[in-house]
């Protein structure tokens, strides 16, 4: 099941070779759906900017991004791949800095550009090592047909983890992600989170496919990366107050889940367990599609909220379900999906990864059992924390009352920016797909199982797929049955008690004289218990005076979570780098001639070296 197109191309070592195999098909599926939906959404979302910003450029880079994404996942040649990869990075950069009059946005764009180029450096090394091994051929098929020594395979795998991991947002390398995603316009954030970071995952899958035999530690490394990215991602997400930044950290969490699946698949392949391997890979690939769908939906929903209220700070929002019924309902679908609850698509892929991990407990050697156990625990904790996190998001943004001072819900209702039909249609189609995969997983599970077998290189008996589908069908039917029972009970209550309107009374307010929306839980206070539990990892910082005595003075409190990877690893490194550069600059020669002399001496050195 492959199609290869090959066209002549003038670039040295390059052929314009495209290949469609089951692996690229999965990513292509996600790309096509999300590009179309985000594009539709963009029509409505960008309407307020009409005439103020150059829409033509934005559209140009949007299409460029779409084309380069498609090229990245179908390229069958190293040079073409790297070209498309860079094109994608640049198009993405220009999409991020759409609001380039803001300092923060420019800074985020620059950070993104730096991070992606650091990653590309590793990719260059990796691909040239590969090509060197394959007698200079730059074709993926040819490289895949050669044998790698275990040390070489290990080096290439580590380079792939570094290079593609920056793009994917694996945990210590994720620092660009929480800055760049909130800076971009929402439909671009959806694309970045749903697709651009998935190209990193695609790269790792492609390397796994090329390297038919990898050392056994590679799988364990992937499992550890998955567990740490997932847990830290969701914990940081809990500590955020900004809606889109929170979603960005959830992308890191989901990348962790995908890495868990890939790790299981890789272990299965190393220890020659075809079913285990295919299930692991299939779970990861299905989660790629699912994450693209629900994270796209969530970012688009967040975009509607921000467009209407002009703020993404959750501590200022509230009660939007009354104003934006469609958006809130669709956001709820996305939130339920990302939490991995049954009937929605996130559940399906997480369930398959769980199945893989449990399967690993029985079929892997001792250390494999340990790591699979670790994976099971961390995946379960991730699910619970994600549920807490989205309870917080939905509760503070859509329920209750508006939390900002001097704004009430009628003000927001009266604003002329409204969620246009295009935006609703885009979100609805994504939500529909989430529900489709969640309710009828048969098609997509089989689709990704084919890709999983393609990645693992071995196929398993046909009837074994039933091991996945039958429990899934059972769970779905049980949950549906419970829902039917629940609805039946509601109907029964209506029949017995009649259709009387509920009584409306004031909430019991603990004896306070004046009632204010600020009494409500904020996003910070909701997550406080969990965040304080993990405050050593999260660099949780709380400032403010305690309220004491019978007649306390005015008080205030603020809390923030800082990214440990950014504060402990990257920033000190960057400061040292700047200091070093300054030192070099001070001792620098100020004559142009000196530089000419360096060139001259080097030239002579080269001549002598080459001819000697």
């Amino acid at each position: 099941m492959q199609k290869i197109i090959s066209l002549p191309w003038q670039v040295p070592f390059g052929t314009f070779a495209l290949k469609l195999d089951p692996l690229s098909l999965v990513f292509l599926f996600a790309i096509v759906i999300l590009v179309v939906c985000s594009g539709l959404y963009g029509i409505g979302y960008l309407r307020p900017y009409k005439g103020k910003k150059g829409m033509g450029w934005h559209l140009f880079f949007y299409i460029l991004l779409a084309v380069s994404l498609i090229l990245v996942v179908t390229a069958n040649n190293v040079i073409l791949f790297l070209g498309a990869w860079e094109l994608m990075a640049i198009a993405n950069y220009f999409l991020i800095i759409f609001n380039n009059d803001q300092h923060e946005v420019r800074r985020a764009g620059f950070l993104y550009l730096m991070a992606t180029h650091c990653g590309t450096f590793c990719l260059f090394l990796m691909f040239f090592l590969m090509a060197n091994n394959a007698a200079g051929s730059m074709n993926f098929d040819v490289i895949a047909a050669t044998n790698f020594s275990p040390i070489m395979a290990g080096i290439i795998f580590v380079l792939a983890l570094l290079g593609f991991g920056v793009k994917a947002g694996f945990c210590p390398m994720h620092i660009w992600l929480p800055h760049a995603h909130p800076a971009a316009p929402s439909h671009v954030s959806a694309l970045m989170s749903g697709l651009a970071i998935k190209t990193g995952i695609y790269g790792i899958c492609r390397v796994i496919w090329i390297m038919k035999i990898l050392p056994d530690w590679c799988g364990y490394v992937l499992l550890i990366i998955g567990a740490s990215s997932g847990l830290l991602g969701v914990l940081y997400a809990l500590g955020q107050h900004e809606l889109k930044k929170l979603l960005a950290y959830h992308s890191i969490e989901n990348i962790g889940i995908i890495a868990l699946g890939l790790g299981v698949g890789l272990l299965g392949r190393t220890y020659n367990q075809p079913f285990l391997s295919a299930v692991g890979f299939a779970g990861a690939l299905l989660h790629v599609i699912n994450h693209a769908l629900f994270k796209g939906l969530l970012f688009l929903g967040a975009g509607s909220v921000i467009q209407k209220t002009h703020t993404g700070n959750m501590d200022h929002l509230g009660g939007l379900a009354k104003v934006m019924p469609y958006t809130s309902a669709l956001f709820l679908v996305g939130a339920l999906s990302i939490c991995g609850l049954p009937l929605f698509n996130g559940f399906i892929s997480e369930f398959i990864i769980f199945m893989g991990l449990f399967n690993g407990l029985f079929n892997l050697p001792q250390q494999g059992i340990f790591f699979c156990g670790l994976g099971i625990v961390s995946l379960a904790v991730m699910g619970a924390l994600a549920l807490a996190c989205f309870t917080k998001v939905y509760g503070t943004v859509f329920l209750g009352e508006v939390r900002a001072e001097n704004v009430n819900i009628e003000d927001i209702r009266g604003r002329k920016e409204s969620t246009s039909k295009w935006m609703i249609v885009a979100m609805m189609s994504l939500a529909g797909l989430c529900l489709w995969i969640g309710l009828a997983p048969h098609t997509m599970v089989n689709f990704t199982l084919v890709s999983g077998q393609y990645l693992s290189g071995k196929s398993f008996a046909v009837n074994e797929a039933e091991k996945l589908l039958i429990p899934l069908a059972t769970i779905i039917s049980v949950v549906l049955f419970l829902i039917v029972v629940f609805l039946g009970l509601i109907v029964l209550r209506r029949l017995v008690k009649g259709n009387a309107a509920p009584l409306i009374r004031e909430t019991w307010s603990c004896g306070f004289e004046q009632f204010s929306p600020r009494f409500q839980y904020t996003s910070a206070s909701f997550a406080r218990s969990i965040v304080e539990f993990a405050k050593n990892i999260l660099l949780f910082n709380r400032q403010g005076n305690k309220i004491m005595g019978a007649f306390p003075a005015a008080g205030n409190m603020s809390s923030a979570v800082k990214d440990a990877a950014e504060e402990i690893m990257v920033r000190p490194f960057y400061i040292r780098l700047i200091r070093l550069s300054r030192k070099i600059d001070e001792n620098r020669n100020k004559y142009t001639q000196m530089y000419l002399m360096y060139i001259f001496l080097f030239l002579i050195f080269l001549l002598v070296w080459k001819i000697r």
């Binding site: 800074r107 001639q593 000419l596 002579i604």
Partner: protein, 212 residues
């Protein structure tokens, strides 16, 4: 013979005290260079050889020196050459480089047969001497002259591979155009002494430190 002369003149430029003297020597060097194609293909002189020779003589022997003279008059430079190292020392450096060039070219492998054994070492020495001129003299015009001497060396090299690699000649013409632009820039910007010393980047570093 004329190859040796080209190298000799390049050395003379290194030792010249005055700008105008340098330009005159360069003009003579280019003129001598124009004769090389005649000697090379003495038995079967083609139209291309003649055109090349005449073109070189007119362009480099007359036009470029004339423009350079015009340039130094136009921006009224002082005529001393500002050396970074002394004249005697620079000639010795040049001699060492020539010896090096002969040694290197003895072990070069070439794609085709060369008309004269001296051609490759001479061209290499001329290139190196031109580069040396750029390194050890500070004035803008001397930079241009060093560049032109280098280019004469490249021209010699191209001549040796005239039949095998035609594209080298075209590259030489491109270099000529670049030199023309270079000279124009000197005139337009009134660079009458040296290029500015490159500025310290302190301010830029400070800015970068703020931004992140």
């Amino acid at each position: 013979m004329s190859c040796i002369l080209v190298v000799f003149f390049a050395l003379m430029i290194l030792a010249a005290y005055r700008l105008s003297g340098m330009i005159q020597i360069f003009a003579i060097q280019s003129f001598v260079l124009g004769f090389v194609p005649f000697f090379m293909h003495a038995d079967h002189l083609g139209l291309r050889d003649v055109a090349l020779a005449v073109g070189t003589m007119i362009l480099k022997g007359a036009l470029v020196p004339y423009i350079l003279f015009w340039a130094i008059r136009h921006v009224s430079m002082r005529s001393e050459v500002k050396p970074l190292i002394g004249f005697g020392m620079s000639v010795i450096c040049g001699a060492v480089l020539i010896a090096g060039a002969f040694w290197v070219s003895s072990s070069l492998k070439l794609p085709g047969k060369v008309a004269s054994d001296l051609l490759i070492p001479c061209s290499l020495s001329t290139v190196l001497l031109g580069f040396l001129l750029m390194v050890i003299r500070t004035k803008a015009v001397t930079q241009v002259l060093g560049y032109l001497v280098m280019e004469n060396g490249i021209f010699l090299f191209a001549l040796s591979l005239f039949d095998v690699m035609p594209i080298l000649i075209e590259m030489g013409i491109l270099l000529d155009i670049f030199v023309a632009v270079f000279i124009m820039a000197i005139v337009v910007n009134h660079i009458n002494e040296e290029f500015e010393k490159t500025q310290g980047l302190d301010k830029r570093w400070a800015k970068m430190g703020e931004s992140l």
